[in-house]
Point group: C2
Chain length 224, copies 2
DNA sequence: CCATCAAGTAACTGTTTAGTTACCGGCACG
DNA sequence: CGTGCCGGTAACTAAACAGTTACTTGATGG
């Protein structure tokens, strides 16, 4: 109830003390979030089951509703965390410090490899778009998260134009959409593509080839 | 039961006779298929409701189960029809009759515009990939439908290589995946993209710009 | 050692869902 | 004329579902 210095002190003491592990609210919360990420990624919003999330998290529905309100709020939380994940890792690249051509190549490589290592992120995007960004639109946390990317990319392109290596028509959003398109489609649609074309797209050789293809196409599209 | 000349004659008579319109099996069947296409496209496999499909089709569940067996078989039928639709239209392009550069440009334009005019096809692909092509894999009708595309594309590329306009490394599957990637991602992810980048991707100006971009990128990636 | 309070459990509820069954009505044919 | 068949209706059922409520457990502070 009250958050006096006394109780705060006790909380710190509790948090740093080895406990029986039967109770661990933060752990439970994190477990629910992770379980929900997997469940929503595998089954979509309509197909995900609240009971399944609770079971995967090793807890029960009572805790899920206690920490997250309801299914929709939990889903939004999962989606927000997924975006924070990729944008944070992207920012750490610091593409602005490289020469323009390398910077674009690095961003393409990073994006492809992130998609490859985080299939659940691609699934969540697919689900959210199926619903026309119904939940993402309600998010208040994500408005500023993405502007940094376009800003940095814009600077890199300007630098390249001045140096005479990039075409004057190169546009930052177009460049990012090109990189993301080539990575997203190949991975998210790998199952139908492999089926209809009778060729397993996910073998190491094919993945390597497509990685090189993405870098090649991206640079070919903006070089003078 | 039996399909003698007599009963066949009667069927023809029935089909050509103006009836009370209370009964029309083919119409009902087609209405169910069309309603199911929309329902599955809008809500995915998990989110689609059999009652909603029946209502949209102006009929009821009894007929749906009568014609299509169950929800899963109906879904597969919808998916198969969607693939037949795009591959049939694609074949009519006859890209083999054009000069190589125009042929690739035409294929890119066609694919983009088909995606633009058939959002339900993109949604169905998304849903099917979410489930790792679980139903498509079971389809026996679709094995040969797609080989024609790659064959024709392969011929065009060979012709272009001989003429010296295309790079020797250009690969037919890669070219198609490039075209499809750029169209698919832009449209299927337009909702989250427009939200996070604060720019409406679906305005006529932006659509035109992206159409030109796809053709430009595709050709830039294979030109010598 | 007892009172308190939050973490966690499990059984329950009202609703929705896929799939079924019992029935209706008109048409073709004997 | 009446019998069987087929397109179509609507009410039903069993299971699954999201969300709730009554309860247990165990740590902590007095």
């Amino acid at each position: 109830m009250n958050d006096t210095g006394e109780s705060a002190k006790k909380k710190i003491k509790r948090a740093s003390t080895e406990r029986t592990a039967q109770r661990d609210p933060e752990r439970t919360r994190a477990a629910i979030l992770e379980a929900a990420t997997r469940e929503f990624a595998e089954n979509g919003m309509g197909g995900a089951r609240v009971d399944a999330i609770a079971e995967r998290a090793g807890t029960n529905k009572r805790m899920l509703y206690h920490y997250f309100g309801d299914k929709e709020q939990l889903y939004l939380r999962v989606l927000e965390e997924a975006y924070v994940g990729i944008r944070t890792a992207e920012r750490a690249l610091n593409i602005g410090t490289r020469n323009p051509e390398d910077a674009i190549g690095e961003l393409a490589l990073f994006t492809w490899r992130y998609f490859l290592q985080h299939p659940e992120f691609l699934s969540l995007l697919g689900t959210e778009n199926l619903h026309r960004a119904r939940w993402l639109r309600q998010s208040v946390r994500l408005k500023e998260l993405h502007s940094h990317l376009i800003g940095e990319l814009s600077e890199v392109l300007e630098e390249g134009k001045k140096a005479g290596v990039f075409s004057e028509t190169a546009d930052p959003l177009n460049v990012y959409l090109t990189i993301a398109s080539l990575g997203y489609f190949y991975l998210s649609n790998q199952y139908t593509l492999s089926t209809i074309f009778g060729r397993d797209l996910i073998t190491p050789d094919n993945l390597d080839a497509w990685e090189r293809h993405i870098v090649h196409v991206t640079l070919a599209s903006i070089k003078r």
